[in-house]
Amino acid sequence: MSFTFPRSAAGLALLTALAAGCGTAAAAHSPATAPAMHHSARPDPAPPAASPAMTPHLHHAHPAAVAPAPPPAPPAPPTMNPIPQGNGGDQDADNNGGPSDGDGSI
């Protein structure tokens, strides 16, 4: 009797350790943390400017495994003028208030 108790305790401890390890591995492969893992595994150079799409991933790299991702930011309000200004779009005169060119707008 005195010999079997420590063996059972050791077996229980081993099972507990294995269960904890499997749980950690499963959490590490969840979609929520995949981008964070990708970034930590590949030390790519940082983008020239932090884009809004990248910010949530960097900010939630660690707690993402245990906490749900925050709701996405509300979309930006639509602009009143769909034409790019300041030489945007096709860069022709009509994007700066000049005469319209002959493109077919495709």
């Binding site: 034409i83 994007n95 208030g97 319209s100 060119d101 077919g104």
Partner: protein, 200 residues
Amino acid sequence: MSARSSHRGRLLLAATLAAVAVAATAIAATALAGQPARPGFPALHPAAAPASWPRATLLGGAAVLAFPPSLRRVISDADAVSAAQLGPGGGYQLYLNATPRQGAENLAHWASFRLRLLRSDDATAARLLAAAGGIQFRGGTGSCVIDTYLTRIGGHHFTEIACLIRGRASASVIVAAAPAARWARARPLLLRAVAAYQVR
């Protein structure tokens, strides 16, 4: 009395014959030029531009835009060419553009296509002034529209003639525009540039 009547009759006959001759000459000249009469639309007689006018060629040689020396090349789409005369403040005084046909525009519906494009893209309002089809160009046949519009950006009021021209191997668009307030003065020069447009 009868002599006077006879004289009056001869005069009337001569006047009638002269009127018929004038009308026949006008019709023949129009037919030879390939330009059917178009009420409200200016006559476009295809003719080469003066040698002193600079030329800009579309990619692949699809068309050649000749523009008056008072204009200079300005930025345009990659596959297009533009020339303009700018005012002291940088505003467009004269504008010419040639662009290969890109969308669903065709000769039969050119005027409606152009107005719809203006309203949906660059202008808050666009109004048709005149339109015509079957116009002869150097190397092809085209449909043209004259319209006036208000730009979405800046609220500038322009008047333009825009033509879709189909040549043997390609189709392209030429646009000639000026501020509406200057259109009457600019029109002869712009029409000359349009008439000199060469397509292939």
